[in-house]
Symmetry: C3
Subunit: 649 residues, 3 copies
């Protein structure tokens, strides 16, 4: 795994650039990411480009042997561009203009902005597409950050109508598909359809869902346009985008399709406060982040990148953008870096080289302090470089035996009609993932269209949509399957299936969901001694071919199975979920362990890594390839994975 | 009591209509409510009516002997109407347009919309006003739902000025009445007056109160226009509107005046989360609803309907529109239905016949599931039909010995100047009502203008306005009276009475409110061993003719009496309130009981019904006319009321 | 100390004015404040003035020997003025117009309104500037109340650009100072710069800070214009403005510069709910207010007034504008009045004479009830007048030995980039102030530009900005200094100092802040047995010349000293803060005490006052000059201060 750093030479005097590059190389970094916010410096006046400074930066890198990842600067159109074309600004859900003065102030649906973004992308790509220092390009920066996928601009409104026309063919088809005889919502023309906001009470859920699908498609369109230009002018280069954590507003599988690599920006502490964790977890993991948070995204984006993925921004110290910003524990930066390696990252770069003295991110740590002295993350990066060097060539990342199906479309569907205010498809997916990992399982996170052949266990925590193709692939895979509540609960058109949920999954398990209920926090439905159901419960009509493996205290079937397919009728708490997954894993021939509390592991090739997120030592009774035993709090170790299990069942 | 169902044939293929009607009749239903959202199907293009489908529906009903309640479709103007007359859209308090895409997107003040609503009402009424299947008409649907009483449109602004001019006669009179020399708020012309929103700090309370009065009057105007048309074209038919629960934004007594029946939509579980109940109560009554919630509205709307009232929408299973939507307990639908009967309902219809697979209410249960199979509510409806049949002809509903005065205007006054953020006139009324019922008392909920003669006990929990007429009727009634704090605290013009509160009530009890204080939740003022005061306390100047029956720990008089009139100077907690009402009831010659916890009763004619909202059995040592003893949780029983008391004092 | 009252004759019939004035004089009041909301009565039609009524009011006062404080009526422009010049209305942060209908509905940046305000001020001043009854003028009323310092009107936008041009000279200088190469935020022209609102994510912190500085300067400009007119037409009169509590939106030191007196409006109970106090404190001090709340503002505004200050509005009973409005304890009005005297107030006036029956403040107590009878505050005012008379001529107010530096600009800086969501410079200042007073210390609250010579102890809880001048004055003062975290953390241009924080303070203590972290509520970092750090902690690079006096549990230096300069690297809890201040006070030769719980004291000349905010008696073993011992809850006493200490260390 190569290590690098995000660098903003345009924010510093040219006089220190050479020193910066030298110190990067001395540290052992092999690449830099640059350029992604530099539009106002590359084109300070309309049509007047200033390439000189960037030429010098690239030449410095080339001379020093630093590889460059070049970003297109389209996340921050300069003020002169905004003033010339005010229509490119996005509009929020209530119609308010989202003004210049920070970043991401453009509307994905704006053809004008798309044209301008292509113009600057082409200019940069023509100039540097064949520059020897550059092997990789990044499109834009963090699509959707600050809630920018959705815009209600005139362009978006017009684009949505065209998108709908293409999707439905006729207005009658749309009226029927959405069921608009309800509340006299029928349309006569495409031009009658508006964005689904500002209505008196909730707008139509299918309207909202299709609006999200459209908005996601606009991100894909915008990205594709840049990819096309880069393919032409930067032949042979890899292309990537830097995705975010805890973010599902566009379909990453679809946006990522034309790109070579999926990169993401990993801020384990910054994300902690926003994540679906309990107050107790947020206190406990204050300085390391939640043990499944980075890992989940590593495995998610490995799937998005079809195996090729990076961490392109790695938190190196306290950040500035969370509600509160604690300092990482000593060793945390090393732990996070090695965890990325364990999950198969090709590269990792720290954000950022030197802390800036001004601006919105002035309080964001870098590898260097604002006074140019090393910050604590600097030494940890050096340690990582040394340890990876000592490990030798990285082992292959293999397919895991367990797959978790992650479907952006289903998450939007659950948002469009949650039925219980806090129902959260992403949170469900993360809990299932964490439960599997607590059992020592490695997990691939895959799209609903993935080939499932070869998996022994498939987890479906939040697949609202199950089509016949998915049902067939599930059946053909031979895997044991665990489907959560609400699986197959809607058709693609957002109707309850005519044969009731779980829809197409009924070909694998002959049940019907007769009734559902959502439950507010604090309402707990006991399920024998295995655990409890919280938040959601379904009344299931079982059949002769199904077996009830567990029931609720009131007799309602909870865990139903037919052959290799299992269905959970309620949202399980941690205890129940762990029990059920362990049981099905055993049926599938997968050995599980009870990892010590706050410990997680990951295998890469023949190595097994152990991460200690707890506050006590963890002893490993194996010869170690990396780290020491006992592993201190915040520590990492690795040993040769002989397939046996250091921890008891 | 006739049972029926709300039916939306326009949302289903015509091929199943006949089957639907047949199954309704087989179940024992005798009427359907239809049509109230069907505008886009009745008039799919401007001026082009499609009556055929509705003709067929009505003929089907007529053939099957199903009685029809026909709704005017004015709650959902179609998109083409909105696009032709965008000015009909309501505007929210901050001026934002409330767009098409759900329902109730019209402004009551819009003369344009009033005209359009009359046009479609007349069209439907001309076509079907004399159709044999229809005996009852419903105007519009749930006036005010989704906070739609208030609109700040240009039409509303103009209408308010006219309304004020009519009310005050001269701008000088308004300046004086409102006291506008304060903060230099004086007006010179009517056209200077705007809606009371968007001001720098709170707008003038009298301005807000009169704005609410105006807005309520606009609802009455809108309804009256439909009533006039229906009276002409549907002679002999009853007219009703379906009111809501926990809703006080318009004066239901005034709106209901020209109509024959008051109907309401009862969703005991859906309302629970919004009601003024403690978290503990919300947990305890999760699957039945609060024991006083439906009953309060039954008694309230019996008053609004001057004795004639229905439940026109009865929750039949989980709904979709609460924050969380639990399933009702087994038996809950039966309990709710029989409770409506006990309180004197003429009819009850379930909402809705079959659960829809799409739309905003796709997750709302019906008597049938989306796959056409019976949902659990179906069987409970059948049970109710059987039990009511067995009971024989319904006994008369008699006047209760206790009246509770409920005054929409006073509730608005308390909202216009709460003085303590959470002061809530509706909640106070519901607590007093609940305390009386816990003592086994039946309660009539009456308007402030009601004839009070014949009542033994009159409760006034939240009558901010007491005029001389009310004081005289109270005195003449001979009833014992309990008035809560803030009684008579304002004149109709929203001034503190010149002789201080309780204003005109001083003719019955010679006290003055010298000072008031509001207290945040958690502040508790003990009142001896009877209970405590919470939220509000007044310093009372008593007089020689008054007696202090209880005082606060600090010596302030709390419970003051003069002859039959009692005044509470603070908001009582449950214990104190129960004690005081029991004591005064005894003085009034009314026997009270201490009902078992979570049990409520209601007499109808010679029958007394018992409702078990608890989770343990309740034994009735009487011969039963309905139900079994012990009454299980969620159960109902009825016995002949011999005037004695099954439960000890 | 003279006592007076705020009087609104325009709200009452002329027939009772003479009686009002007579009763004021009988009570012992010597002045009234009038006129500050009377524009609509002074100029009922554009350009048509009605002076007659005010002439009569002033003549009545003059005859009775009542001194008058005359307010300019500019806080409430009448509706006709707003309609003639709609552009004078302020706009909120999201651009919404802030409408007529309450008060303070004008934009400080509006030249049109400035002109109108000058016109009415000049008219009033010409008419009454030399009236014998008037010795003092008040400009406007409560600048900034209801969040009115900031406006985003077109006038404000334009004014800001001019202000920036004057501040930076060139757009390049601004780009560099703010660091706008970050996120391509660079400007080419002043006209490209907008208010810092409505951006996609947070706007640039230096942009927000300079916007606040600009907005504050507009308040100063507005006030200066009135002062200039009053100086011309009311020669010899004192000029003041009535400031508010818990309010830092403009620089009071700067606004107060051209005026003679700083007055403030003291509502101890009204403010309690908004103050930075725990729920436990809010319960405990429900009826007296927090013991440091009024005192802090007394000392703050004594500094703003360069020694001359008043309480011009004193809470006399329950108010109307807090979320909940409890009644003061018996004796509270006396306690508050005497506390103002102890801190050196020249005058105090109660708000208001008689409670109004209508309007936004109808529920606000006065000295009289709405029915003209005395309210409880009336008798307490009489007691105060008697006690002050008995005390004889007021002793001089001396400079305190302890100074606390209070810097509005630093508070804005902390708001512009809090880094931890709840970091609050005002709250920090109040906590430090309270800790010092709990030790029996009197405190002067001084601006950062104050002459510090003569102080023994200087507290700097929240001085984000430390320039060389301040550092030099600190060094020259000879005082012992305690600086809190974040001291000197930014340059005036809002950059991290090149030599890191604490910036210029490094000339006194050779440390560098290497890293900072913010911590959410509930995270507590123990610091040995002295207490804990909460909310904020810094990693300090110490040096050979510094000494570490206390460290965190994890070894990080917490309390660092070099000679007389001490630095706290974390936000201390109450215990830690008290310990540290006591220790440094002892080093500075200041004796401290451990005052009994809930007791505070203040010296004025040779007298020491004791205030009992607790609920138990406090015994004073000294001959008393005022009050009794034991001092009951809510009581006050005073004795001759002999420099010894009634309470043990």
């Amino acid at each position: 795994m190569k290590l690098g750093v995000c660098w903003y030479p345009e924010q510093w005097p040219q006089s220190i650039w050479a020193s910066d590059v030298r110190r990067m190389v001395e540290l052992g970094l092999t690449f830099v990411r640059i350029g992604e916010f530099a539009w106002s410096r590359l084109e300070p006046e309309p049509g007047q480009f200033d390439w000189g400074w960037m030429d010098r930066v690239l030449d410095l890198c080339a001379s020093a042997g630093l590889n460059v990842v070049m970003g297109t600067p389209t996340a921050t159109p300069p003020k002169w561009l905004v003033d010339a074309h005010p229509g490119i600004l996005a509009r929020g859900r209530n119609g308010q203009v989202r003004h210049f003065g920070s970043r991401r102030h453009y509307c994905f649906s704006s053809d004008t902005y798309l044209g301008q973004a292509c113009r600057i992308t082409e200019a940069v790509a023509r100039r540097y597409g064949r520059h020897g220092a550059i092997t990789t390009w990044q499109t834009d920066n963090e699509y959707g950050c600050h809630d920018t996928v959705v815009s209600t601009s005139d362009a978006a409104r017009a684009g949505f109508r065209i998108w709908l026309a293409a999707r439905f063919g006729s207005i009658e088809a749309l009226n029927t598909a959405w069921g608009l005889s309800f509340w006299a919502q029928e349309y006569r023309h495409w031009d009658e359809i508006d964005p689904p906001y500002g209505t008196v009470t909730e707008s139509h859920p299918a309207h909202r869902l299709d609006w999200q699908r459209y908005s996601s498609d606009m991100v894909a369109r915008f990205n594709q346009a840049q990819v096309d230009i880069l393919r032409e002018h930067a032949p042979g280069c890899d292309i990537l985008h830097n995705y975010m954590g805890l973010f599902t507003e566009f379909d990453h599988h679809k946006v990522g399709e034309p790109m070579d690599i999926a990169a993401w920006d990993s801020y384990p502490i910054g994300f902690l406060g926003q994540g679906p964790f309990s107050p107790e977890e947020k206190r406990r993991y204050l300085r390391l982040g939640h043990p499944d948070l980075a890992a989940f995204h590593h495995d998610l984006y490995r799937g998005v990148g079809r195996g090729r993925w990076w961490v392109i921004e790695q938190q190196p110290g306290p950040v500035n953008w969370a509600a509160w910003n604690p300092a990482p524990a000593a060793g945390a930066v090393r732990l996070w870096s090695l965890e990325a390696f364990a999950h198969g990252a090709e590269r990792l770069s720290y954000f950022r080289w030197r802390q800036a003295p001004t601006g919105q991110e002035a309080m964001h740590a870098g590898l260097l302090r604002p006074d140019d002295q090393p910050a604590p993350g600097f030494a940890e990066a050096a340690t990582v470089i040394g340890e990876l060097g000592a490990l030798g060539p990285p082992p292959e990342t293999e397919r895991a035996p367990t797959a978790l199906i992650f479907d952006y479309d289903s998450i939007w569907g659950l948002q469009a009609q949650p039925q219980g205010r806090d129902y959260d498809g992403l949170a469900q997916a993360m809990r299932w993932y964490g439960a599997a990992r607590q059992l020592g399982l490695d997990v691939d996170i895959v799209p609903p269209g993935a080939d499932l052949a070869g998996y022994k266990l498939v987890l479906m925590p939040a697949s609202l949509f199950v089509d016949d193709g998915l049902a067939a692939r599930l059946a053909a895979s031979g895997a044991h399957i665990l489907a959560g509540p609400r699986t197959g609960a809607k058709t693609q058109a957002f109707a309850i299936p005519a044969d009731l949920p779980p829809g197409a999954l009924q070909s694998l398990i002959a049940i019907k969901v007769a009734r559902v209920e959502s439950l507010s926090p604090g309402i707990v439905l006991p399920a024998g001694n295995l655990g409890s159901v919280i938040g959601w419960m379904e009344d299931i009509d079982t059949s002769a071919s199904t077996e009830v493996l567990d029931s609720l205290y009131d007799g309602r079937p909870l865990w139903i199975a037919q052959s290799r397919c299992h269905y959970l009728a309620g949202v399980p708490d941690v205890a129940l979920l762990g029990h059920v997954i362990a049981d099905i894993a055993a049926r599938a021939g997968l050995a599980t362990e009870n990892l010590p509390a706050h410990v997680r592991t990951r295998r890469r090739g023949g190595l097994r890594f152990v991460f200690n997120y707890g506050d006590t030592d963890v002893t490993i009774d194996r010869p170690l390839r990396l780290g020491v035993s006992p592993i201190p709090p915040g520590g990492v170790a690795a040993f040769d994975d002989l397939g046996d299990q250091p921890w008891p069942h």
